[in-house]
């Protein structure tokens, strides 16, 4: 009997665990270690953040589903990886610490034959002075953050209803933060909610971002066919912001947030301040900070992890100028190069390089988005890793399933308001996520698959995806037919 341990139960980890169990059945053991008792469908947190959904509409308890599937669930956080075992065991193990129940705080060593690191990001609020829900800004990165943001957003709405103008600042709260899509979605939903209440004149809504151009989204922007032209996402995105009455600040590296003030430096080296009454700023991400030790107890964290604490996989991590990076640098099997029974998927893997061109201000501060790995690519990585591990357990010697971000597309539906007939969605598809200028020298991507449009259809699609992915994540009938 083989034992596969999955660390994390987000989009990538949960998908991986579900396909592992489906493929391995009762003859092998699948263990999921995650500090949270709930699965959350993160894209819908945006609707929690504007009061259109409750917390319980975007989450469910993992244990019930795992008990039904026969997956062992451990509500704990992973602290250390011992890939070679130690003096007492030759088998790799993970040291975990329980986070709930009677054994909260208790540590345990969980042995594995295969390990999948799907721990997602650490929301690194500390990297920006004064940033975060406990300090001077809000977040929509988790359902509790989103609910907290909505509590306070209502106060701002009441003030506007009482005739007091309010300033909203939404975007990235660190010079190298990513996940612009989530912030973009939130700003559109806030604008929609304000407009719906007839309060547009009382609101000044501002987008702030580390993107060189609006619409970069951490993937170097894209080109789409629109209105008889090949149009950059810069134009598409600016058009939507202008339509919603939102102004924008780009090339901004936020480095400090105080009560009502965000301090940022621009690529030109200018030091500026943006005042606000409500701010939702995405933090930078880092790995969760696990450490690793060899059989003798020596620290080998640097062998397994990159300096940003994300795990090294089958990517080309050689340092090279931006112009020399290629699509082939990106990983396709997510296997650790040192320990071939360890994999890292979703946000947990270390990307080989930025997709957006690295930019540095005249004072030396890097100001550009790091690569996004959320949503659709995360699910795909989780699935192919599960299939590869299951096949290895059944005797395969090679990885038959591959999914590189430079060979896979992504569909991004940005909600721009809620309602069957008055909601809006901006739908964007790109193929591949990482531009391949060798294969597609003209536009970096395949223009057959690159679409951008706004309309009710996008909103319906977003709502449909919410229910489809819940159906899938809960393991309801024929869940495996729903594609990643």
């Amino acid at each position: 009997m083989a034992k596969v341990v999955v660390l994390g139960a987000g989009v990538s980890g949960h998908t991986c665990a579900s396909f592992l169990k489906k493929k391995l059945g009762k003859h092998h053991e699948v263990v999921v270690v995650t500090p949270n008792s709930y699965y959350q469908w993160i894209p819908s947190n945006i609707w929690v953040g504007v009061g259109q959904m409750s917390i319980d509409e975007v989450r469910f308890e993992l244990k019930k589903v795992y008990d039904r599937w026969g997956i062992v669930f451990k509500q704990a956080r992973a602290l250390e990886i011992h890939p070679e075992g130690d003096a007492s065991t030759g088998k790799g193990y993970v040291t975990i610490e329980y986070t709930a129940g009677d054994n909260s705080g208790v540590r345990e060593n969980v042995e594995y034959d295969y390990l999948v690191n799907a721990t997602g990001p650490k929301l690194n609020f500390e990297a920006t002075e004064g940033l975060g829900p406990d300090k001077n800004s809000y977040s929509v990165c988790t359902y509790s953050h989103a609910a907290h943001a909505w509590e306070h957003l209502q106060e701002n709405i009441k003030k506007m209803q009482a005739g007091q103008k309010q300033r909203f600042l939404i975007g990235t709260g660190h010079a190298m933060a990513t996940c612009q899509g989530a912030a973009f979605e939130y700003i559109l939903n806030i604008a929609h909610e304000i407009s719906k209440r007839g309060l547009s004149k009382m609101a000044q809504i501002t987008w702030i971002s580390n993107e060189y151009e609006v619409g970069d989204f951490g993937m170097g922007g894209a080109f789409i066919k629109r209105g008889g032209y090949i149009t950059p996402t810069k134009v598409f995105t600016e058009s939507i912001l202008a339509e919603y009455g939102i102004n924008w600040i780009r090339r901004a590296g936020v480095y400090k947030v105080e009560d009502g003030k965000a301090y940022y430096e621009t690529l030109d080296g200018e030091d500026k301040v943006q005042e606000f009454d409500f701010a939702m700023l995405i933090p930078s991400f880092s790995g969760v900070g696990m450490t690793a030790f060899d059989r003798e107890g020596n620290d080998i964290t640097d062998t397994l992890f990159a300096p940003n604490k994300f795990m090294k996989v089958d990517a080309d991590y050689a340092q090279k100028p931006f112009e020399e990076w290629s699509a082939d640098d990106w990983p396709s099997t997510y296997q650790n190069p040192t320990y071939n029974n360890i994999y890292a998927v979703g946000i947990a893997f270390a990307p080989p390089h930025a997709i957006s061109k690295p930019m540095t201000s005249v004072t030396g501060r890097p100001i550009f988005p790091t690569p996004p790995r959320t949503g659709m690519p995360s699910g795909v990585m989780g699935k192919i890793t599960a299939l590869n591990i299951a096949e290895r357990i059944h005797g395969a010697t090679e990885h038959r399933h591959k999914a590189s971000m430079s060979r896979m597309g992504a569909a991004c539906i940005v909600s721009g308001g809620f309602g069957s007939f008055d909601g809006l969605g901006a739908s964007m598809t790109v193929f591949p996520v990482v531009p391949d200028w060798d294969k597609y020298p003209e536009w970096g991507r395949d223009m057959k698959y690159s679409v951008g449009e706004a309309g009710l259809a996008g909103h319906w699609l977003k709502v449909l995806l919410h229910y489809l992915f819940f159906h899938k994540a809960k393991g309801y009938p024929f869940w495996w037919l729903i594609p990643e």
Binding site: A191, H192, S195, S200, K201, G227, V235, E238, S239, L241, A242, E243, Y244, G245, N247, W248, M376, V380, K383, I384, R400, H401, K402, A403, R407, M408, G409, A410, A411, F421, D422, L424, S427, T429, F431, P432, Y449, V451, E453, A454, G455, L456, A457, G458, W460, L461, P483, E484
Partner: protein, 52 residues
Amino acid sequence: MGKYRIKAYFDEAYPPVPEKSTLFWRKFVPWQLIRFIILNVKMIRIVVGGHS
């Protein structure tokens, strides 16, 4: 929304903003049903082609 704040020499002055007809088609249910089907087909093509 629908009340643009366009001021020359500001960034907001230069992107295209939708005309009334564009806004109409975006919410015209029969047309959006067609777009919904087309978007679904495009996404399925992307999903199927994205991994082996």
